[in-house]
């Protein structure tokens, strides 16, 4: 397993043991080095002291060439088991006496070397001059000692060091086992909590807080985050269930509405066909008696004029006028009914062209009236050409009619800004109307002028509004008495 995949506990333990081990090892190594060096120094000093003592004692033996004495002197070295060889050279550098008496040849240099103590070939050797208390040199003492003292002491230190190291590592290991908990436990607890959250989607769990250190702060932050997520989740759930409930309600409502719409549509269809039959019957049957009333009144006027006085003739004229008026009313009502029933056939309609045609028609019918028509070119719309013609015909005819008492009548048709948008506009400078009654303009049989002032049935604008509504548009009017009227409409 790669180091980074180790559990955090093992990592912490390994780290602590490794660091303490390394520290101990370095310390021990430094200590051992120092000990080695100082032991060697001490051993050399001790050998040189011994050498000087022996050299001082051996002056007599050399001076008198008493080799037995010299051998005895050297034999005293037996007390130090580490001395492996000792040699006394005479003044000429010849071996005078050795220790032990029969020493191995390779331990005895054939001739004395330079004075002084040094380490050579795993041994501590020294050449000590033997001198009289003046300055005459009598010979040289050679001493060779093994390094057993150094090695023994050094080995003991090594054993002690290893023991200390082992105990220290064990202690470090045990301590780390105890101490790592303070770091690892909160992290493990956090990890455990995070796992629970991600596997069970349970946002209600909380990581236990084990201290006030950074890990404690991390735990707090983590728990707060969980709390917020839990709140948001709850809120989302509330929204979702609320939404579901509302969708259900709305669906139910829509179903009910659909049902009632279906019922209404069926009723409407029935009512429509009834209306159809009614309108058809009105169209045929209601006008026939009017024709008779008008026709026979005219016959009376033509054939019996002489037998009637002025009042009688006037009465007959009134009968005729009334029946004709009623004929117009019936026609207008039928037109309104037809507009309601007619199917809309949408196409591009040249409104400017329609308006010009209607203006020409009006001028042709009453050539003695001079009305200035200002019709903007290029006005187009999508809609039913026949119905839109009815709209323009009514509006322009109204303008024509209500400017009759105006000395300089003017009728305008163009596109204009109105109510924050754009709309078609028909404006005249005629009799106008009081804005108080603006809402009554478009009602059936609603008239703002007496028939004596301006004739009319009060159905035209109702028809216009119905056509505009059926095109999905809007119509409204502005005006003031004797200041003209302006009609705006959108399609």
């Amino acid at each position: 397993m790669a180091l980074r995949d180790w559990p955090i506990k093992q990592k912490l333990t390994a780290m602590l043991v490794l660091i303490s081990g390394l520290v101990l090892l370095l310390t021990s190594a430094a200590f051992a080095g120092y000990q080695y060096w100082s032991l060697r120094q001490a051993t050399r000093d001790a050998l040189s002291v011994r050498g000087r003592i022996i050299a001082a004692n051996s002056t007599a033996s050399l001076a008198f060439s008493n080799d037995a004495d010299a051998r005895e002197l050297l034999a005293a070295l037996r007390a130090d088991q580490h001395i492996v060889a000792a040699v006394l050279y005479d003044k000429g550098g010849h071996v005078f006496a050795t220790y032990p008496a029969h020493v191995a040849g390779d331990l005895v240099p054939a001739a004395p070397g330079p004075d002084g103590y040094r380490f050579e070939r795993g041994l501590l050797i020294g050449f000590q001059p033997v001198e009289e208390a003046g300055s005459q040199r009598l010979g040289t003492l050679y001493l060779a000692s093994d390094l057993g003292v150094v090695y023994d002491t050094f080995r003991l230190s090594g054993v002690i060091g290893m023991a200390v190291l082992a105990v220290a590592l064990l202690a470090a290991y045990l301590l780390s086992r105890v101490l790592q908990g303070t770091i690892a436990e909160p992290i493990l607890a956090l990890a455990e909590t995070a796992k629970a959250v991600s596997t069970r989607q349970d946002y209600s769990v909380r990581a236990p807080k084990l201290g006030e250190d950074e890990l404690g702060a991390l735990t707090d932050a983590f728990n707060q985050m969980l709390g917020r997520i839990e709140d948001q989740k709850d809120e989302l759930q509330r929204y979702a269930s609320d939404l579901e409930r509302r969708v259900e309600e709305r669906t139910h409502e829509l179903q009910e509405r659909n049902e009632s719409l279906r019922r209404n549509a069926a009723e409407l269809l029935a009512a429509n066909s009834e209306l159809d039959a009614f309108a058809y019957s009105v169209s045929h049957d209601l006008r026939a008696p009017l024709r008779s009333i008008d026709g026979f009144s005219q016959i009376l006027l033509e054939d019996y004029a002489t037998q009637l006085d002025e009042a009688g003739r006037e009465s007959l004229h009134r009968v005729r006028a009334a029946s004709q008026r009623m004929g117009t009313l019936i026609d207008d009502l039928l037109k309104l009914a037809r507009v309601t029933r007619a199917e809309i056939r949408t196409e591009d309609v040249d409104l400017s062209g329609l308006a010009r045609d209607i203006a020409a028609e009006l001028e042709g019918a009453t050539p003695e009236r001079k009305v200035e028509f200002a019709i903007a070119p290029g006005l187009k719309a999508r809609g039913d050409a026949r119905l839109l013609r009815v709209v323009l015909d009514n509006l322009l005819r109204n303008s024509w009619k209500y400017t009759a008492k105006q000395p300089a009548p003017r009728v305008e048709f163009r596109f204009a800004d109105a109510n924050g948008g754009q709309a078609f506009m028909v404006r005249d400078n005629g009799a106008g109307f009081d804005m108080k009654y603006a809402d009554k303009l478009f009602g059936v049989f609603q008239r703002l002028h007496s028939a004596a002032d301006f004739e009319g049935t009060g159905i035209g604008l109702a028809t216009v509004r119905r056509i505009i509504n059926r095109h999905g548009g809007r119509i409204w009017a502005e005006g003031a008495v004797d200041q003209g009227a302006t009609f705006y409409f959108t399609l």
Binding site: A288, L290, R291, G295, S297, S323, G327
Partner: protein, 148 residues
């Protein structure tokens, strides 16, 4: 029935009187045969017993109302157009209504004209005058079909 006669198919006696007066007031003095319902109109044209009328008996023009007892105007028109002898006979629908579907159906069935009777008698008279002038004087009648 002599050529130049008018067959007026009209159930309303007032309208008959008014139509006759309107025609007369403009010196249209042709004979006018009045059929008060569709069935009688068909009898006059095709013979009550179903026997074929002679071509001399066909009127110059038929003024046909639509709302008629027994057999309505559209059916009369259909029968006139279905018969070889009367296929080309000028038929003018003269009625109260100008409902679009009537106008369309009338022309589809082969009416030569569709005239709506105005309420204003003066206008009515004017219309009758023009009708008479056109169909009796201006118009060249279709050739009489030969007998097989």
């Amino acid at each position: 029935m002599n050529p130049g006669k008018i067959l007026l198919v009209e159930d309303n006696p007032d309208d008959v009187t008014l139509t006759l007066r309107a025609l007369k007031s403009h010196n249209i003095t042709n004979d006018v045969i009045v059929a008060p319902d569709g069935a009688e109109a068909l009898d006059i044209l095709f013979g009550a017993d179903g026997k074929s009328p002679t071509e001399q008996e066909l009127p110059a023009v038929v003024l046909l109302d639509l709302k008629l007892p027994k057999v309505n105007g559209m059916e009369v028109l259909q029968r006139i157009r279905a018969d070889d002898r009367t296929r080309l006979l000028p038929v003018v629908i003269l009625t109260s209504s100008d409902e679009e579907r009537d106008v369309i159906e009338g022309y589809s069935l082969g009416a030569n004209s569709y005239v709506r009777k105005p309420v204003d008698f003066v206008e009515f008279t004017q219309a009758a005058k023009q009708l008479g002038l056109y169909w009796l004087l201006m118009n060249r009648a279709p050739p009489v079909p030969r007998r097989p």
